[in-house]
Symmetry: C2
Subunit: 220 residues, 2 copies
């Protein structure tokens, strides 16, 4: 198909498609004449992936570029490959005050030991968790951290479901694709479910009228 | 304190502070002379909050502006106030194909009924969850949705911890502040914990060497 049709079938404007081509997010089409390229279903799928990572996953164009580069790369060990791809989605801007962050990193080490988690010493998620802990402390909103093992329990439950979803796949590429998309879009899914569950608890706690959609079911 | 000292104690450059002042994210200092304003600890705290929401919470300046406006507003009903503040953090860009999204919205209605959750009919989180579901279906990564009740279980567990953290507070402002910061920064905390738990499960599934930090504890 030509670029105009690619645009029609994905809803992405032609100038935006050209921008993704220039940034290398989208592989070039096949030249059918010096000025004309044709695109395939692969391009349609890739464009949808870019838009979902952008709109629902809230990733930046730069991060999406790195992530797609890992998805396109073939690697022998799915565990390593998955780790590298997801690492690209971690933000590593370091602006936190050092003292706070160092203390938070010690807390993450203690948490990992307490849970018996097998985690690489250089796993970027260690740093993400430490930054969130440091931010909560700095903002005096760290009461929440007295429940950190409840959050870790929930994370384990989520990870079990995540891995069950991908482990039955026999194709390694499909496994990594499923894990990456499921993790990024799944973060947005979880954030939404968390707000729904919060609203339910809050409505019950304050016995507030929750609108016409209120159900009668038992609290969890 | 003067703006230079405010900058030193927060690590935020003076031009950036001036930008936040212009955007109304930071309330103006008190004028001590026509060209000189003084700032207080309130400004220090507000600046740290802005930076955490930006760096750790990954919110945009526009969304942070809305959120702070709700935090500054005094409202009678903490449940309503909390709902409004968190609603500001939902993205409502609508680019999803309509058919997909309408079907996903029906799934959310069914999920809420199944869980017995009390949710306002116009709660923005309904839409966020629907968008994530629609994106997963469109990207053919919807195997994950066969475990959606596991994710909902995890969300309930998280919400119980979230609400326990704030419900014991007697000051309503403190309650709303704690809930908002805990939810936004807590999303990043959960995303990090999920990746750690995934890495642990993945390391066990593939029996991959997880680096020097590997622990011997039992799997969850």
């Amino acid at each position: 198909m030509r670029i105009a049709e690619l645009s029609r079938s994905t809803g992405v404007p032609v100038p935006t498609i050209k921008y993704y081509l220039r940034e290398g997010l989208l592989p070039p089409g096949e030249l059918s004449s010096p000025n004309q390229a044709t695109y395939t279903e692969t391009h349609v799928h890739r464009l949808r992936l870019i838009r979902a990572l952008l709109d629902v996953g809230r990733l930046s164009i730069a991060v999406i570029g790195e992530l797609l580069a890992y998805l396109d790369q073939r690697d022998a060990d799915p565990h390593q490959m998955l780790g590298k791809a997801l690492a690209a989605t971690e933000r590593s801007k370091d602006r936190a005050e050092d003292g706070n962050l160092a203390a938070a990193e010690d807390e993450v080490v203690a948490l990992i030991a307490r849970r018996g988690w097998r985690i690489a010493t250089d796993a970027p998620a260690r740093h993400s968790v430490a930054r969130a802990i440091a931010a909560l402390r700095q903002l005096a909103a760290d009461d929440l951290l007295s429940h950190i093992d409840d959050y870790a329990d929930a994370a384990e439950r989520i990870a079990v479901a995540d891995l069950e979803t991908v482990l039955h796949l026999t194709d390694r590429d499909a496994m990594v694709y499923g894990a990456v998309v499921g993790t990024i879009i799944g973060d947005s899914l979880m954030a939404g479910l968390r707000r729904l569950a919060q609203e339910d608890r809050s409505a019950r706690a304050f016995d507030s009228v929750a609108g016409a959609g209120a159900a009668q079911g038992p609290a969890a």
